[in-house]
Symmetry: C2
Subunit: 274 residues, 2 copies
Amino acid sequence: MIIELAKNYGFCFGVKRAIKKAEQIKDAATIGPLIHNNEEISRLQKKFNVKTLQNITDLTNEKKAIIRTHGITKQDLAELQKKNIEIFDATCPFVTKPQQLCEQMSKEGYEVVIFGDENHPEVKGVKSYVSTKAYVVLDKSELEDLKLPHKIAVVSQTTKKVEQFMELVNFLMLKVKEVRVFNTICDATFKNQAAITELSKKSDIIIIVGGKNSANTKQLFLIAKNYCEDSYLIETQDELEKSWFKDKKHCGISAGASTPDWIIKEVVDKIKAF
Amino acid sequence: MIIELAKNYGFCFGVKRAIKKAEQIKDAATIGPLIHNNEEISRLQKKFNVKTLQNITDLTNEKKAIIRTHGITKQDLAELQKKNIEIFDATCPFVTKPQQLCEQMSKEGYEVVIFGDENHPEVKGVKSYVSTKAYVVLDKSELEDLKLPHKIAVVSQTTKKVEQFMELVNFLMLKVKEVRVFNTICDATFKNQAAITELSKKSDIIIIVGGKNSANTKQLFLIAKNYCEDSYLIETQDELEKSWFKDKKHCGISAGASTPDWIIKEVVDKIKAF
């Protein structure tokens, strides 16, 4: 069986940057996981004493706080700034961008459509910068019965599929006189999605490695599944099952933007051993 | 044979308004045809002494000038204002809008993509209000090899197909960080296009009545042709041929936004007589 890695996969710029910061800062707390990968979070905790808190209220006597790659809300940032704690910002610059755009567009009087998952921390953070009205949607149908203003700004969660973002924009073009579109889908997302599309077309089994709470990982899995029925999403090599690979000829592998190389390597080694 | 008129067809708001103005003003000259329908232009000339000149330089001792529905360039307007002539503006408000948008977007530093035919008088007029850089295109492929700026504004010729406008916007979303979309396709265009789409699906012959120099008429013809092979574009009933209707069961009829009712009636009467 051929084992082939996607042309682009794994750690993106923002994740690499955040991990490097966390390793340098050490002995710090993050509010919510720094990145969406449990294994890597454990490693940072064990080796660099970077612990993960769920909320700002969980802070006790920590001296250093790191803001996660997905960013936090404007309100949480204000709370944090009131505390006697040193703040390090590891928000991915590609996430800071839509935050700033939402703030700017609000100032200019635009209501803002955010294409994304309202429960995702990145989207919660971005939305918090809208001071007019924000519409967080995953599908155009959610806007169908609403009365929208004459002009609207649109941003996207960084990890969404661009084709779906286009569908939303096309829908808005029919409803609203001015649609001010900011394509905030990040480049790594683009490239990883294009690479898994290509790879899954020629594979008879696909393994996606990444956090099950990771939006971009789930997106890769959905794309793979679309072209290759036998696609699996796993967090570590422990979840691999030998039976999956029976009679398979071409195994494609990709990984989410928060998946470290050492986990991918373990997965590849185990598949080879089967 | 059933003869069925499209649910929406013929004279639009802007054309009705221009003809009414011309009839009231009388004894005037237009620079280029007031609307794109030769028959109606002849009628206005004969009954109201409204004559059509090709260029501003053709003006001699006229006292009154009417600006055509498609508008004129900013430069031509300035020329006209220098002359000792009373100016009446019959530019369709839906055309004035993209002119204003181009001027405003230029002021804000945007380069402007105009989706339309560079040889069409409306587009020439709209383009003349761009003081940064204008890209007039009919297809995204014309932009493929260009280096575009980070932000761009987009308007459309009022009579284009919205699906093609969306394709262009989708393409720009991949190339440019900010795409500021103004959907300037006019409502009458939308409605007439939707109606001919519906009608041509159930007809075995379609007659489109309108000026062969009319962009919206040509668009209606192309849509009809897509669904009904036996579609014809005619300017007057003189062009109808009996043989077209042999064995046909359902004849659909529509007309461009510049086609007066009396011409449509003549066409229907002649078909009935066959």
